[in-house]
């Protein structure tokens, strides 16, 4: 069925709620309004306000109380309205949610899904276009994922909710309105932690996640016209990283360009580059390159096109490593 990314998530949430009455949603404006991106549209109407809960405006409170519900056997799915507003909840996520299993010697789990619209490209005002994924990827105990297509949005949200570990679930907000065919009856074709090879190629590997996957695919298309065959990988899981899939590709192509919107400094690309260098040292024909956001606060809307990686910057990096 042809569906938007947002609608695929909506259906995924609906399925999860149908399957398990312990699945509850919490967040700001998720009820009648259906969330500012309408991801929870009509769910309160259909499941009632005990299962789709409009909370007071307090992010630490939202995550902290959801954590308490999880301790009681519920499977809360929390919506943080925008990436820039997760920080008040940071302490709860990092100090409490992430560590409970470890701190209780495995006796207690926190099956919590924390949905966060992330990234830019929608011309928003400040605090509405951030990429905070590394803060969470750096925290042991959390799973961090980011779908890039409607089909993955649907399957990954269901996988995240059924997982017994807490999942920080990043939704690339500029892809909410992307449309694609989604098989709502099928089962997920990949485990949650696996990366996906989107297009096969032989000259270089381009790795991306979230909002930049489509950009990488666009770059690969242009490269093909210029006679270069790029293999594009969608990372999907930001923690843990599926190094096997990446290494397999790099063993074949000998070149890797990593793309993300987040500032490059101490970003996820650095981690991936280090691991790939360890694993594929003798196969690499060129240094692993990173294309990402600059190391600045997300700029005003009129400048974001310069800040966000575009096909042009990706291809410039590809050229550099092909020349090496």
């Amino acid at each position: 069925m042809i569906t938007t990314f947002a609608a695929a998530l909506n259906t995924g949430l609906r399925r999860a709620m149908d399957d398990d009455t312990k699945v509850v949603l919490l967040g700001e404006d998720i009820g009648k309004l259906g969330g500012v991106f309408r991801v929870t549209d009509t769910l309160q109407k259909d499941f009632g306000d005990n299962r789709v809960i409009d909370t007071p405006l307090a992010e630490s409170g939202i995550v902290g109380t959801a954590f308490g519900m999880a301790l009681r056997g519920y499977r809360p799915v929390v919506e943080i309205q925008f990436d820039g507003f997760v920080y008040p909840a940071f302490d709860q996520i990092v100090s409490q949610v992430a560590k409970i299993h470890y701190r209780t010697g495995g006796k207690v789990t926190a099956p919590l899904t924390i949905r966060i619209p992330f990234g830019g490209g929608i011309g928003a005002v400040e605090h509405h276009s951030e990429s905070p994924e590394v803060y969470f990827a750096h925290t042991a105990g959390l799973r961090v994922v980011a779908p890039s297509t409607p089909a993955d949005a649907y399957s990954m949200i269901r996988q995240a909710i059924s997982l017994d570990d807490p999942v920080v679930f990043f939704e690339p907000k500029r892809r909410y309105w992307d449309k694609a065919d989604v098989d709502f009856e099928g089962e997920p074709d990949l485990p949650l932690h696996k990366a996906r090879v989107c297009t096969h190629g032989t000259d270089a590997t381009v790795l991306a996640y979230g909002g930049t996957v489509a950009t990488a695919l666009a770059a690969a298309k242009i490269a093909a016209e210029e006679g270069h065959s790029l293999e594009v990988i969608d990372l999907r899981s930001l923690s843990p990283i599926d190094v096997d899939t990446i290494a397999e590709s790099v063993d074949k192509t000998g070149r890797l360009v990593i793309v993300h919107e987040a500032p490059v400094f101490a970003g996820l690309g650095a981690e991936i580059a280090a691991r790939v260098t360890e694993r594929c040292f003798y196969q690499l024909e060129a240094p692993v390159l990173r294309v990402g956001g600059y190391d600045i606060p997300y700029p005003p809307a009129k400048l974001e096109k310069h800040h966000l990686p575009d096909p042009d910057r990706i291809l410039a990096a590809v050229d550099r490593c092909l020349a090496a």
């Binding site: 500012v36 007071p56 405006l57 011309g123 400094f265 800040h307």
Partner: protein
């Protein structure tokens, strides 16, 4: 503050009724006793002008000139009344909706839209008007106002700060922590909550089951509830709070009861969560109509004056519009400016790489 002699309703504080008749409240009327005809007319003009600014900016957004706009329509009296209670050396800490406060602080209309047009993260120079730029992270400014107030106290400066926030913000930990710090430090800060009844789609009942003003109680902070659509009443209670703060009396919490007549921002669709009947009740309590009726009753609304106000509003709206549509896109290289106040090697390197990249792109 409860007047034992009369059985009139003492809360919320009100000095002008919706039909423009004055309320007999000696205690609060005394606080605005100096508000003569000229001053009343000034308040009226500021209400009319700030509504006009808001309507113009909303139109500019609809015409694609602004990326977003947070309308203040309906909340003019709460903002104008409280802003008129401030001294120039007091410092205002705002959220994103305080356009009227900014105007009353002296921000030129040309400087109101840059952030919303997406050309900068700021609109005006905070130091010039003693007022912060828009703060989007809800509630955080409560702590900043408290810290600034305490620092002023340490400096021996007799000033007040005022923190503007909404009803939703009262649920944030930052506001709770600010109230705790302010009370503990007896800091000269006024907490000004514009209870406009909604936090995007959530009615105030989601935030609190008791009047918000009672939150102050648990911190030992005096609280006062005021009719936020009554500019005189707001002026009165804010003056008292500011005076208290400036003379060492410590913090006050004001809950101004008002209503957001429009959407939360231009990206919001209020028909999803509220009915026309909801807003109708408040239409009859329009803050501008109220003072217009008062002026009329007191013989202060001659046609010349009305015309002058209309002309001023038109003129300011024109300035706002022209400045906005003529606002150029920023120089791309400016992305790297002001990340640090001191030289930073990484910034210099990236700025240079970026320029090189741009130059490459410029080649045919």
């Amino acid at each position: 503050m409860v007047s034992k002699k009369s059985d009139k309703q003492t809360y919320p504080v009100q000095l002008v009724q919706p039909d423009g008749r004055r309320v007999l409240d000696r205690e609060h009327a005394a606080l605005v006793a100096d508000t003569d005809g000229a001053r009343l007319r000034q308040l009226y003009e500021d209400l009319v002008v700030t509504r006009r600014i808001d309507v113009e900016a909303t139109a500019l957004q609809r015409q694609g000139q602004l990326g977003l706009w947070p309308p203040l329509y309906g909340q003019e009296a709460a903002q104008v009344g409280s802003a008129h209670a401030l001294h120039p050396d007091d410092y205002a800490f705002c959220s994103y909706r305080e356009t009227a406060v900014a105007y009353c602080r002296g921000v030129p209309p040309e400087q109101l839209t840059a952030l919303w047009r997406g050309v900068a993260h700021h609109c005006w120079d905070p130091n010039q008007v003693n007022m912060t730029n828009a703060n989007i992270v809800v509630g955080s400014q409560g702590l900043h106002a408290t810290g600034y107030a305490y620092a002023a106290h340490l400096d021996g400066a007799d000033i007040a700060t005022i923190a503007y926030f909404g009803d939703g913000a009262t649920s944030e930990g930052d506001i709770a922590e600010a109230l705790g710090f302010a009370a503990s430090w007896s800091a000269p800060v006024v907490f000004f909550c514009q209870n406009n009844q909604w936090a995007i789609s959530e009615p105030v009942a989601v935030q609190s089951t008791v009047p918000l003003v009672r939150r102050a109680d648990g911190y030992g902070i005096p609280g006062v509830q005021v009719d936020g659509n009554d500019v005189l009443a707001v002026l009165a209670v804010t003056r008292r709070a500011v005076e208290r703060a400036r003379t060492g009396g410590g913090p006050t919490f004001i809950e101004a009861l008002t209503y957001r007549m429009g959407p939360h921002t231009t990206a919001d669709d209020p028909t999803r969560y509220r009915t026309a009947a909801d807003t109708e009740y408040w239409e009859h309590r329009d803050p501008i109509e109220r003072i217009r009726l008062l002026l009329d009753r007191e013989g202060l609304l001659d046609p010349e004056f009305a015309q002058r106000v209309a002309d001023t509003a038109d003129d300011i709206a024109r300035r706002l519009r022209t400045a906005t549509v003529e606002m150029p896109d920023p120089d791309p290289a400016s992305m790297f400016d002001h990340v640090y106040a001191t030289d930073h090697p990484l910034m210099a390197e990236q700025a240079q790489q970026f320029s090189a990249h741009l130059a490459e792109g410029a080649q045919p």
